[in-house]
């Protein structure tokens, strides 16, 4: 609100000092072509998640025993599985589910872990101790086993996969946010904000949070990949999404049994999709940091 009114009345000011986000993005990508590739991959994944179910050539659930276990061909690009379902269609359709699980869990953990971490770093003392001990407790378990336990205890639903994934990522967010908030606690601009009459919570939200967003963006991107892997992992071992829903983890699990008899395509393609998605999010982290860092927008 404030910024918009300020900028609106500043229309008379000479030339805008800020260059547009697009020219900046162009610069970042030109400087590091791998970032451009990551963004292209991300666009592809997002597109598949968005319109995948409407454009796939076959119904991902339609089975036909006549066409079962066919190798890749023109009719079935990635082949078919033991029930004759088209693997290409299933891989594309599965993108949406995996993407949603990752996005929801990362959003959840960003809000919970991010705020707990900033508060711990900023206030110190008791807040810091409590938040620190909670995340230490979580870290004490092998994280995948913890996720298995949570899903097994709470029940085998998508919501619970999201919750379990969020919980195991909680310490990562707490630590990053805590460290970043802690170094800024006594920064000049925070003290200046206090002199301007900002209370502690306003300082946290308006002054500190935007400044640690660049590093949080990197964290978000990295854990997105990890969250996808985790969701697929849970489904792979049978805790998570139930068949016949198309999901990369289940598909790899189903395909794994058939590798020995020569039907490699059943596990390879969903596995490759999984790998590309995780790879893409990891690369994206670096690019995002360059994009959102105000120091580089000169």
């Amino acid at each position: 609100m404030t910024e918009t009114t300020l900028n609106a009345s500043a229309a008379t000011a000479l030339k805008p000092a800020r260059n547009s986000i697009f020219s900046h993005a162009k610069y970042v990508i030109a400087e590091n072509p791998v970032t451009g590739m990551a963004f292209a991959l991300f666009a592809l994944i997002a597109l598949a998640a968005l319109i995948g179910p409407y454009i796939v050539p076959h119904d991902p659930l339609a089975s036909g025993t006549a066409a079962s276990l066919k190798p890749p061909s023109f009719a079935h690009w990635f082949g078919t599985d033991q029930l004759g379902r088209d693997i290409f269609s299933r891989v594309v359709v599965a993108t949406r589910l995996d993407f949603i699980i990752a996005l929801a869990s990362v959003a959840l953990v960003f809000v919970a872990g991010g705020f707990a971490g900033i508060a711990a770093g900023f206030f110190g003392g008791w807040t810091d101790r409590i938040v620190g001990r909670i995340s230490d407790t979580i870290m004490a378990f092998p994280l995948f086993v913890l996720a298995m336990g949570i899903v097994a205890a709470l029940g085998n639903t998508v919501t619970n996969i999201v919750i379990a994934t969020a919980i195991i990522n909680f310490p990562l967010y707490v630590r990053v946010a805590r460290a970043e908030a802690n170094v800024r606690r006594d920064a000049g601009f925070v003290q200046a904000a206090r002199l301007s009459g900002n209370g502690d919570f306003r300082i946290l939200l308006i002054h500190i949070l935007p400044n640690i967003m660049p590093i949080m963006m990197v964290q978000i991107s990295l854990t997105m990949g990890y969250a996808i892997l985790n969701a697929a992992g849970l489904s792979f071992i049978g805790l998570g999404v139930k068949p016949p829903t198309p999901e990369w983890g289940i598909m790899v699990a189903e395909g794994a049994a058939n590798i020995i008899s020569g039907e490699w395509w059943m596990a390879l393609f969903p596995g490759a999709a999984l790998m590309i998605a995780v790879f893409c999010f990891n690369l994206l982290g670096d690019g995002l940091r360059d994009l959102v860092d105000p120091q580089r927008r000169t």
Partner: protein, 585 residues
Amino acid sequence: MDSRTDLMSLPAETSEGTASRPLLEVQDLTVEFATRRGIVRAVQNVNITVAKGETLGIVGESGSGKSVTSYAVMRILDRAGRIAQGSIAFSGLDLQTVPESEMRDMRGREMSMIFQNPRAALNPIRKVGRQIEDVLLQHAQVDSGAVSERAIETLEQVRIARPRERYHAYPFELSGGMCQRVVIALALACRPQLLIADEPTTGLDVTTQKAVMDLVVELTRERGMSAILITHDLGLAAAYCDRVMVMEKGHVVEDAASGTIFKNPSHAYTRKLMRATPRPGVSLRGLLPEQEQPRADQTKTVRRTSSSTASDALLVVEQLVKEYPRKDIPTSLGKIFSRKPPVETETFRAVDGISFSIAHGESVGLVGESGCGKSTTSMMVMRLIDKTSGLITFAGDDIGEIPARSFATLPSRKKIQMVFQDPTDSLNPRFTAARAIADPLLRLGGLGRGEVRSRCEELAMQVGLPLEFLDRFPHQLSGGQKARVGIARAIALKPDLVILDEPTAALDVSVQAVVLNLLQDLKDSLGMSYLFVSHDLNVVRLLCDRVIVMQTGKIVEQGPTERVMEAPEASYTRDLLAAIPHPPL
């Protein structure tokens, strides 16, 4: 192969003392940096000669290319930079043809460098003695049996008391001045022929600065070394160098013996720099370039009357104490989780029972070296930290009793504001200048959104910030512009008392001159009181009616500025005054 034979013959050559040939000869040097906005020429057509045993000062403001020049000589330019043109000859050896492996060997042995921040230059987790040994062994100066004796000897040479004990110290256990001595010891360990000191005393106290500079000059003279001192401080260069070069925007504008350069500077930029350097016998207005002079006398009289009529005190501080625990006193839960048992619960008094007052419209200087408690005092008066005991009375209200945490939203917050030391650190990187200035107005000013913008513009005009800069982010502004934004933010709420915490310490002298004058103008027109916290007595003298000198948490002297400066009573004040380098004017 050629260069190698040259290198081998080097020591022999020096012992014969070929006085005709200068040790370092830089000709027509141009250094370019490839940046996003194209190629930037940081240094253009620079010629430097340093004779054997000569001390050369390179003076210039930030961005003048003085550091880049020295990096080019050492061949430690970062990746984006390259020597586009010119030659660098060291003892007749063309440094550009020397392979990197031999260059690495020459750095430290033939030429070495002292950097600005001594703490950053030392490895924090290695004992200082070991770090000196590393250098000695690296350049094969001694065999490993005698190396620790040599290291101790080296520490002794830089006047480190009890070198045998200090050999085992880690950098964090030493003070800033001590660290700088260790860095000097590292640089001189292999007896190089050329020492380059890049702002060696920036960030050190004046008395430490004097001790460090005296040491550097003494050691270089003793060993017949050449030295290049890179500094922004004309006074320092004049006091310690044989010859001074002045650089501006990548060009050398003047090069003369330090005696003559101060008596009759030929270039306009040198004169401007000299005018802007605070020194005894010059008024605040005298710092500005000639053309901006006429207003001088009238403001001086205004200042006098305002200070004499103001009799009632605005701020009274009585017996103020701030104690810090030496170690964190563990709370009950802390005891359970902390690994170490509590060592000592002894407290450390950062501020030890000080009393002073500031009248309406008065400006008071608070002077002392780092660690004397001046910043702690200003933070307590500012109500950013809580006091341990004592009284802080502001305009009749006892504000010392209000906890710092809840003071932020009270109406009295408006009346006390602050200008911070580091203009960069004190601005939120994600706020535009306008948003930064608007912050206090929105929180405490009670202005509508439309009014805020017009008030921002009014403030920007008051502090001389062009309006088009209001929509820029801090990293798009220069140091002086950021300082102006900080000042505009501090005066936005029309406070009664402004605390200036070394507001010009991070600025170039010419910018400092302008900012100091701006502060004086603002005080005259708005009738504020200033508490000016500084380590620089020359700057305090220009702006303050009264001065308070602090040492180790106590006030050692206070009184009218002229009296304290001309006839100091405390010996500590005399030491401080004596340590300021004086340009021979």
